[in-house]
Amino acid sequence: MNSSAGENKADAGCEFQENLEILRQIDFFAGLPIETLKVFAYLCARETYQAGDFLFTQDDDDGQAFYLISGDAILAHEVDGTEIKVRRFTPGAFLGSLALLGSMPRLFSLKAADTVVCLVLTREKFTKSIEQFPELMPRLLKSVVVGIRSWEKRHMLEMAARGVSLEEMAGISAL
């Protein structure tokens, strides 16, 4: 799975540097100082999933965040045995920042649509690192708050575009 490193592109810079570049582009991490990002870039693992493999499954509290480097993944929700496709993620997507911050049994499953290569950070690694830089927690919280607001805003706009009433459907960020 991690065998991509060192095989053919060894001279093209190391995995650590590539990870660092990726993290700097992710909103959740973007505001962090470089020495912290280095620790995260070092702790990230690269994983490959074959089409049909689950990156995470509903109800599991796996505590991982994923950045899709290549390949698509499909988010689905299962109710009483029927699977509802929620959305498709393409390379460049970052999922699971909330799972890094605290225990969060998954409300969805994420399945590889084709061969997916992604960067994975676990909650254990994240928490242990952030303990070393406690002054950064407020910045992360800020980016989570911004994230939640923009999610709901987008949600509302989408609902409105589809002509769905917002009654009893929105207002999560107001809680």
Binding site: A5, C14, L43, E47, K128
Partner: protein, 835 residues
């Protein structure tokens, strides 16, 4: 375990002198009597040699007296040695007994005692503070008796020689007897302070070390140094004072006693000149006088040891003078076999300052009923479980287990019938198997007739708790020594063949096979070069980088400089990322530098920035080379691995094989698909390669295939048995949090208790493991064992017979899940709120 002597802390220091030591002490007395006689005899001989043999010029007499002199001196020394030895035996035996007794007493004390007692305090009490008291016990009889007798014998002899002279020269001693205790009082004050400060030092050091994560995390080195440093300085001052005062006692004693000869010379000399005293008598007098010092000195020393020992003993014993809440084993009866019925009536548990943690709780469970206790943290649900489990002594109301009052039962009655899994279970240093047997062995105690759990039982609980796969993994990660189990090794080669036949393709993406023509990204540079396991010590591990033969080969293969360069790069990059992080496994798992080497390499990183590589000294270059040899590109991602170097290493591999095969053909066993590789784990041997993934799901897939293969060869149990020998590390720190919890549950399951209390026992487990254990409780234990589970997750409580909701120490509601939900009370709020 023997019943600990409950009165150990109440015993006086003198009570240790006899007891089991009585026989030895009596033997001492007999030996002492002989010794005293053997000590006085030479004096008389001395007198006779001068007065009779020499004056009468009688050689026969001289030889006779000298022979008697010699014999008595030799036997006195010999006896003294025997007496000393017996004293040492007595004091060491006493020390061992005191330690055992005190430790047994301390661990039986109630949990509340340990809230205010630091581990360091207990350690210093048991390890160091008891040495002085037990030292005293060894001397307690022998030293005063032998010295007083000797003193009296010499004094009597002096009086017999010349009463006047004797009386005068002995007149010094009363002065000493008056003075020494005065000084000693100040010594004792200093000693008490010393004991207190030593304890505080142990406490503080123990606290700092347990908080080492926090210290590293905050870089709080100077704060801790200051805290400990101030205690050390005070201890230094008090110890100095203590030792100086002790020396003072000794010196003043020496001074007074050395006045003795002065009196004898001036008075005895005068008497001899006057012809009133024979010269022989004067010589004998002087000798006898001199011989008074030793016993006297020893008596004073004895007095000091007594005072030091008494102070240390009293301080230690009085600190731990508390009562255990419960007897450990029942007297004059077997442990009770209780019905699994639980009846809680008006239970109240209040703290010392009157805060009610549990307030008037009543509930009842029939044998085999399962109860879930839920509520917010601080609601008292854990406290209730702990009161039922006899971990805390409740202050009001009743808890009945099969109609027996819990507070009135002994600990043995409880463990016989109950299993308790605590919130943060403790795993002890040792193997998985030893930890599995912990609860069973404790329950069986000293009874030899108790049946031991079989291998099947153990494997069954490993399955029930989901620890089976973990244990299997430990087994698969074992490295065998050549010759350890040849039969198994053969079987494993067969498993390898089957693996390649059945799973070689489907698992190929997760395995990097040992292929002579490919660079192994998941093996170290050293492994890539050697491509075999060394049969000679000098090629193993860290010694390789210092091996002259190997270094010569590296030069020949043009590898030395590029590897040192790689080592320097690795050092700088790793230090840049990890330089300021604490020594946590999470940070160092993917690092070629181990946490304990961090400082060395930090210095090296600085060196490589300031100097060119050829300017570094030999040891630094060797360190960099050693690091480069560990480099595993698949794991250590912080540097790029030049393609050229990879090709050079592959070339080097072939060159090394050629070279060593001519120079020392037996030195290596090169990787060969037909041979077992003794430097690799069982799993790597089965794969004939290494796994390339750390992903849990992929690892599960791998383990499932291995299980399949092992079953085919009937090896599964063998490997699990090997896995059970895995050393879990101190406090189980080589296990994950989930594994520790599963192990804690497994050890209680293994004794299959009639009543099972689980205090958030599955909180660190993933969903699947939690569901597995819940499923086991629901299907296998329902109706057989009474279960009380403190639960933090509401999605697993549906199958419990009763659910009790607690809030602020009170029982809000209790009933079946359906009833409570229908009733729309507190549970309904909790459940719907969570959803």
């Amino acid at each position: 375990m023997a019943k600990p002597d409950a009165a150990v802390v109440k015993r006086s220091l003198f009570s240790w002198v006899f007891g089991p030591n009585t026989k030895l002490q009596l033997l001492l007395l007999v030996l002492i009597a002989i010794t005293v006689f053997a000590r006085v005899l030479p004096l008389e001989m001395q007198k006779r040699i001068v007065n009779e043999a020499i004056r009468l010029r009688n050689v026969d007499l001289l030889i006779n007296y000298c022979a008697i002199y010699l014999v008595s001196v030799v036997s006195a020394s010999l006896l003294k040695y025997i007496i000393n030895s017996i004293q040492v035996i007595i004091s060491q035996r006493t020390l061992a007994r005191m330690r055992e007794g005190l430790f047994a007493h301390i661990i039986s004390l109630p949990l509340s005692f340990f809230r205010n007692t630091q581990p360091g305090m207990v350690v210093s009490s048991i390890v160091s503070e008891l040495a002085l008291p037990s030292n005293f016990v060894g001397m307690a009889l022998a030293v005063p008796v032998i010295n007083l007798l000797t003193l009296m014998a010499f004094a009597g002899y002096l009086f017999w020689l010349n009463p006047w002279l004797a009386a005068l020269s002995l007149s010094i001693y009363p002065a000493v007897i008056f003075l020494v205790p005065l000084l000693q009082r100040r010594v004792n004050v200093a000693n008490k302070k010393r004991v207190d400060l030593t304890r505080r030092l142990s406490d503080k050091v123990a606290e700092s070390i347990s908080g080492i994560h926090e210290i590293h995390g905050n870089g709080a080195y100077s704060i801790e140094n200051r805290k400990v440093g101030s205690i050390i300085k005070r201890l230094y001052r008090i110890r100095l004072r203590w030792d100086l005062l002790r020396a003072g006692v000794k010196t003043s004693n020496n001074f007074f006693t050395s006045l003795g000869p002065f009196i004898v010379f001036i008075l005895g000399g005068y008497l001899t000149i006057q012809g009133q005293l024979e010269l022989g008598a004067l010589v004998a007098f002087l000798s006898a006088q001199e011989k008074l010092y030793d016993p006297w000195k020893e008596l004073i020393q004895f007095y000091q040891s007594y005072q030091d020992g008494r102070v240390g003993y009293d301080k230690t014993m009085s600190y731990f003078d508390a009562e255990p809440d419960y007897d450990l084993i029942p007297e004059k009866r077997d442990p009770l076999e209780l019905e699994g019925m639980v009846e809680v009536k008006n239970l109240t548990f209040a703290t010392g300052d009157g805060l009610k943690l549990l307030d008037n709780i009543s509930l009842s469970l029939n044998p085999g009923d399962h109860l879930a206790l839920i509520g917010f943290s601080g609601s008292g649900k854990s406290t209730l479980a702990q009161c039922i489990g006899q971990l805390y002594a409740y202050t009001g109301g009743q808890v009945l287990l099969g109609n027996a009052e819990v507070n009135a039962l002994t600990k043995r009655d409880i463990v016989q019938n109950m299993g308790f899994v605590s919130q943060s279970p403790f795993i002890f240093d040792g193997t998985i198997e030893e930890n599995l047997l912990y609860a069973c062995e404790a329950m069986n105690g000293d009874r030899s007739d108790a049946s031991q759990p079989s291998l099947d039982d153990k494997i069954q609980v490993l399955h029930q708790t989901g620890l089976f796969t973990d244990t299997l993994r430990f087994g698969l990660n074992t490295i065998f020594n050549p010759g350890q189990d040849d039969h198994l090794v053969e079987q494993l080669i067969r498993v390898r063949k089957n693996f390649q036949g059945q799973f070689g393709d489907s698992l190929a993406q997760y395995v990097e096979f040992f292929d002579e023509n490919r660079y192994l990204v998941h093996s170290s540079v050293a492994a890539n070069l050697l491509f075999g396991s060394p049969n000679r010590e000098q090629f193993k591990g860290a010694q390789l980088a210092a091996n002259a033969y190997f270094l010569e080969f590296l030069n020949q293969a043009d590898l030395q400089r590029p590897l040192i360069e790689l080592g320097a790069d690795l050092t700088r990059q790793t230090i840049d990322i990890l330089g300021n992080l604490p020594p946590d496994k999470v940070f160092f798992e993917q690092s070629p530098i181990a946490p304990e080497e961090l400082d060395t390499f930090k210095a090296l990183a600085g060196q490589t920035r300031r100097k060119k590589l050829h300017q570094l000294d030999e040891t630094d270059r060797a360190k960099l080379l050693e690091l480069a040899l560990r480099f595993t590109p698949g794991r250590h991602k912080m540097v790029s691995f030049p393609k050229l170097l990879e090709r050079l290493i592959l070339e080097g591999r072939a060159l090394f094989k050629e070279k060593i095969s001519t120079d020392d053909p037996g030195a290596f066993s090169f990787y060969d698909n037909e041979q077992y590789i003794f430097s690799q784990t069982i799993q790597n041997n089965i794969f004939f390669g290494k796994t390339t993934t750390t992903n849990m799901k992929a690892q599960d897939k791998i383990v499932q295939s291995i299980i399949h293969l092992l079953i085919e060869e009937d090896l599964l149990e063998t490997i699990v048995r090997i896995g059970m020998q895995y050393q879990v590390g101190s406090k189980g720190d080589k296990l994950s949090g989930g594994q520790r919890q599963k192990l804690a549950i497994a050890r209680v399951f293994l004794k299959s208790p009639r009543l099972l209390i689980m205090d958030e026992a599955t909180s660190a487990l993933d969903n699947k493991s939690q569901a597995r254990i819940q499923n086991f409780l629901d299907t296998r234990l329902k109706g057989k064992a009474t279960v009380i589970a403190v639960v933090h997750r509401l999605d697993i409580i549906k199958n419990f017979d009763q659910v009790a909701v607690m809030k602020a120490g009170k029982l809000m509601e209790i009933g079946t899940y359906e009833d409570l939900m229908a009733h729309k009370g507190v549970l309904y709020e909790l459940v719907s709120g969570r959803k």
